[in-house]
């Protein structure tokens, strides 16, 4: 049979979606244990979610949660930092500690024959870290040096300046890594106190996904974690108070990088929290506006203009409203034109050129048909479960995803575009050559850029 090249083939019937069956239990010390059976490869992934992240940092100590997270594997359960590292290496496991705005996530993936050994090490790391003062001093120095190095990395400068300008005094104003000044002043006892407050089995959820039965996974977790004593969760909620960041007028700022061949751009405003009922409509909006290769902004800036290697927008959904932002890097000479193009697109999707039926159909199709591949590996499944925990989402969130996205109409997209995209409140950050960029922005009609530095 030869191929009909006059048109693309139509897709067959949609395959059945299969979502992981989650078994939930709680240990006597309060640790919640969620397990999923995932067969095929001899691999197990563990994730521990501790709901304390950078937004739990004290105002004058940005970086405390991240440094505490980093200290966990610098010796634990009677092993020195080097011994612990060797023990992990001996089972081929590597620990990832991710400190985000709302939580700290420890991820440990290993061959399933080492599950019990990996769990024992993870229990030591969470419950019995040494938090040794010498290791603290060494690690703090390393992190300060890393920040020094980042002074020359345009995306890092842009992210830091953008968060600070956007969120002002809000707990999302700083990135988890903190600042050179804050780390320089940080004391060892602050890390110990933060660990005592934040790392408590009553607050923690352990997700185990892999090549074993639910009861086997649960029993292994119980054996390793039973001895972690409950703390005094009475010390109150660690997550920062639910404050909405102050709305600010449109502002333009430049972080100077004289002679830079490109400008690193961030444009955005405060967006929405993960639990918003508008979540699915905002995903559709973003897919049309800038979330995908074929979205309006990438097609304009990359494919039509040739200004950039790529441009993306995203709503960063968090426990509290996180940023909506556009990220791109454009040639220096066209910076002002690119910023203008971006604002034109933000305005247009609200009224002049609202989302069309074709665009909405494309966005819905791409979001819903692409959804199943997010559950291919144990790590992906564990990460999806961690989202349910972190945002207090109902268990049927995965089943609801496709129908909710498919229920989003054009009017709904236009409604959320008007409610959530507010160009008059947007902050624009340019990391680039001020001598070229500042005059060009002003002649495009933008307010005089403010020169800012990153601490």
């Amino acid at each position: 049979m030869s191929v009909d090249r006059s048109r693309l083939p139509s897709p067959g019937p949609e395959p059945d979606l299969r979502f992981p069956e989650i078994a939930k239990r709680t240990l006597p010390n309060g640790l919640r244990v969620w397990t999923v059976e995932h067969r095929g490869l001899p691999v197990v992934t563990l994730m521990a979610l501790v709901p304390a992240g950078a937004s739990s940092d004290p105002f004058e100590r940005p970086g405390l949660a991240a440094l505490t997270g980093d200290m966990l594997d610098e010796g634990a359960g009677g092993r020195s930092a080097l011994e612990l590292q060797e023990a992990l290496a001996r089972i081929g496991a590597s620990l990832d500690t991710e400190v985000g705005p709302d939580a700290t996530l420890l991820a440990l993936a290993m061959l399933s024959r080492f599950t019990d050994r990996g769990l024992a090490l993870l229990a030591d790391i969470l419950a019995r870290p040494a938090l040794d003062e010498r290791e603290f001093t060494r690690l703090r120095e390393l992190r300060v040096n890393r920040l020094v190095q980042l002074r020359d990395v345009p995306p890092s400068l842009a992210d830091r300046a953008f968060s600070r300008l956007l969120f002002g005094p809000h707990p999302y104003a700083h990135l988890p890594m903190g600042t050179e000044a804050s780390l320089g002043a940080m004391r060892h006892d602050e890390v110990c106190a933060f660990h005592r407050r934040a790392y408590d089995p009553q607050r923690t959820t352990l997700v185990a996904v892999g090549d074993a039965r639910h009861d086997e996974l649960f029993q292994s977790v119980a054996d390793a974690f039973d001895s972690w004593p409950a703390g005094s969760a009475a010390e109150g909620d660690l997550t920062a108070p639910s404050r909405v960041a102050p709305a600010v007028g449109s502002r333009v700022a430049i972080v100077a990088r004289p002679g830079a061949p490109q400008s690193e751009l961030r444009i955005g405003q405060v967006g929405a929290e993960r639990r918003t009922p508008d979540y699915h409509a905002l995903l559709v909006l973003n897919a049309i506006l800038g979330g995908q290769f074929v979205s309006r902004i990438n097609m304009k800036l990359r494919q039509q203009r040739g200004y950039t290697y790529g441009a993306r927008t995203a709503f960063d959904f968090r426990r509290m409203p996180g940023p909506f932002l556009l990220q791109t890097s454009v040639e220096t000479q066209v910076t002002a034109a690119a910023v203008s193009d971006a604002f034109n697109e933000f305005h247009a999707i609200r009224d002049a050129r609202p989302a069309t039926a074709e665009e909405v159909a494309l966005a819905r199709a791409s979001l819903t048909r692409g959804f199943p591949r997010g559950f291919e590996t144990p790590e992906q499944v564990a990460r999806a479960l961690a989202q349910l925990v972190l945002y207090d989402l109902p268990d049927d969130s995965f089943e609801q995803f496709v129908p909710r996205v498919n229920a989003t109409s054009e009017d709904e997209v236009t409604r959320v575009a008007n409610a959530y995209l507010r160009p008059s409140e947007m902050v624009t950050v340019v990391v680039g050559d001020p001598d070229v960029v500042a005059p060009a922005l002003q002649s495009e009609g933008f307010p005089e850029p403010q020169l800012v530095t990153v601490e």
Partner: protein, 435 residues
């Protein structure tokens, strides 16, 4: 650790490989063209990668961007170009497989009628921006160009980066792009792998239906450069917009899957994987003269190179780092790794290898790995043998490989220092300006 597969060669020479994995209702389609920047000529660099961009811009029967229908089908889609090969892949819901095959076969068979000067000019601008973003405007970003330039002579195919030299990109003509397609983009120079929720018989039938009519194209002569050798140590100095100086030490080593390639991989682990590795422990953990250190065996098809890269802590010079690294290497060459170090490196390698097989698609997923073995070794089923290379490595094998390749007199040392601070570089370095 075996990945079951079937391979057929179509009449036009196209290799088709199928691996079934029905756990998730998705199929990975992965195509390798055995062409990369090593097939370019001096003065015409960057062509293979620029060409990859044009493969997404439309073909005769679908003369529009390739992303839209594939994204609408729920696919993930990407491609990449390195020195040795160019790959294109989609991960599609199982019901949309034919859309991907239709499009992949259309651009293999019918690209040129849709290729225009306007598309070419636009994508050249995009690539020049990619270069600015990932090399020119990134700290230390131009070091790799300088190092490859010194490690390999001007007529060696690894002398340049696959992103290319801007002047070469600007001088490339549409006619050169057409010739490039006719030479390299056809079934005889390609390998198509399926992995995922598809029956083997159906995959083969679909491959025949969509790709079977495409003309085979000319045979591509293998690239076989003369083996290279450094007559003496080369020391180079590059000033860049950086806060902390960084040292790159590079040696020639065997290429991918050659004797000692696995030993060099394991040595890299022994040297810098984790806090207890030799260089990390000495330079970062104990002496605190470096902020980071990494070692890597860059295994390529016709040659390899091994690198140690270390960034100095504030107040330290790259001479301090070089001395400390040389001391550790001398010990390793004299004594070899301990049994414990070797076993740790081996189990870490095994774990990484298995983790890499969790995905059917994407870079490094099962479909990509099947094609890698098929294109470079002529046998997609090399998984177990690949792993065995690491399992049978010995302490003495690692020691001997370190002694054979990591010689002080045969290496390139590149110092990248903050502008105006040449005194932080390794002594007697020659300043270079990257192109």
């Amino acid at each position: 650790m075996d990945i079951a597969f079937t391979r057929r060669v179509l009449d036009n020479g196209l290799n088709v490989i199928v691996h079934e994995d029905h756990r998730c209702p998705i199929v990975a389609v992965n195509i390798w063209y055995h062409v990369g920047s090593k097939n370019e000529q001096p003065g015409h660099t960057g062509l293979a990668h620029l060409f990859e961009h044009l493969m997404f811009e439309g073909s005769e029967h679908y003369d529009r961007g390739y992303f839209q229908p594939l994204q609408e089908a729920g696919a993930l889609i990407n491609g990449s170009t390195n020195a040795d090969r160019t790959n294109y892949w989609e991960v599609v819901p199982a019901n949309a497989l034919e859309i991907a095959l239709w499009m992949d076969s259309d651009r293999m068979g019918y690209l040129l009628p849709a290729l225009t000067q306007a598309k070419f000019d636009n994508q050249r601008e995009v690539v020049l921006n990619e270069r600015r973003q990932n090399y020119e405007n990134r700290p230390y970003g131009l070091a790799p160009a300088v190092i490859l330039g010194a490690l390999f002579p001007a007529d060696h195919p690894y002398h340049w980066l696959s992103i290319g030299v801007p002047a070469d990109l600007c001088a490339t003509s549409l006619e050169q792009v057409r010739q490039f397609f006719e030479t390299y983009y056809h079934p005889r120079n390609a390998s198509l792998a399926f992995a995922g929720d598809i029956e083997q018989a159906r995959a083969l039938e679909l491959a025949r239906r969509y790709f079977g009519d495409i003309c085979p194209g000319p045979e591509v002569a293998p690239v076989r450069p003369a083996s290279v050798h450094l007559a003496s140590e080369v020391r180079l100095l590059l000033e860049d917009r950086v806060e902390l100086p960084r040292l790159y030490i590079s040696w020639h080593t065997p290429g991918l899957f050659r004797r000692d390639d696995a030993e060099m991989d394991l040595l890299a682990d022994v040297l810098t994987s984790g806090k207890s590795s030799r260089l990390y422990r000495a330079l970062v953990y104990e002496q605190r003269i470096a902020t980071e250190v990494a070692a890597i065996q860059n295994s390529r098809e016709v040659a390899g190179f091994f690198q140690v890269i270390a960034t100095a802590a504030p107040g330290r010079t790259l001479n301090d780092l070089r001395r400390a690294i040389d001391e550790q290497l001398a010990r390793l060459v004299a004594e070899g790794p301990t049994t414990d170090e070797l076993e740790r490196a081996q189990v870490q390698f095994e774990a990484q290898f298995v983790f890499g097989l969790q995905n059917v698609g994407g870079f490094g997923g099962k479909s990509d790995q099947l094609n890698a073995y098929n294109v470079f070794l002529g046998d997609p089923g090399w998984f177990a043998r690949d792993l065995a290379r690491y399992r049978r490595a010995t302490r003495e094998g690692l020691r001997a490989a370190a002694a054979r390749y990591l010689k002080e007199a045969e290496r390139v040392i590149a110092s990248v220092v903050p502008r105006g601070r040449p005194e932080l570089a390794v002594s007697d370095s020659t300043p270079v300006v990257p192109s």
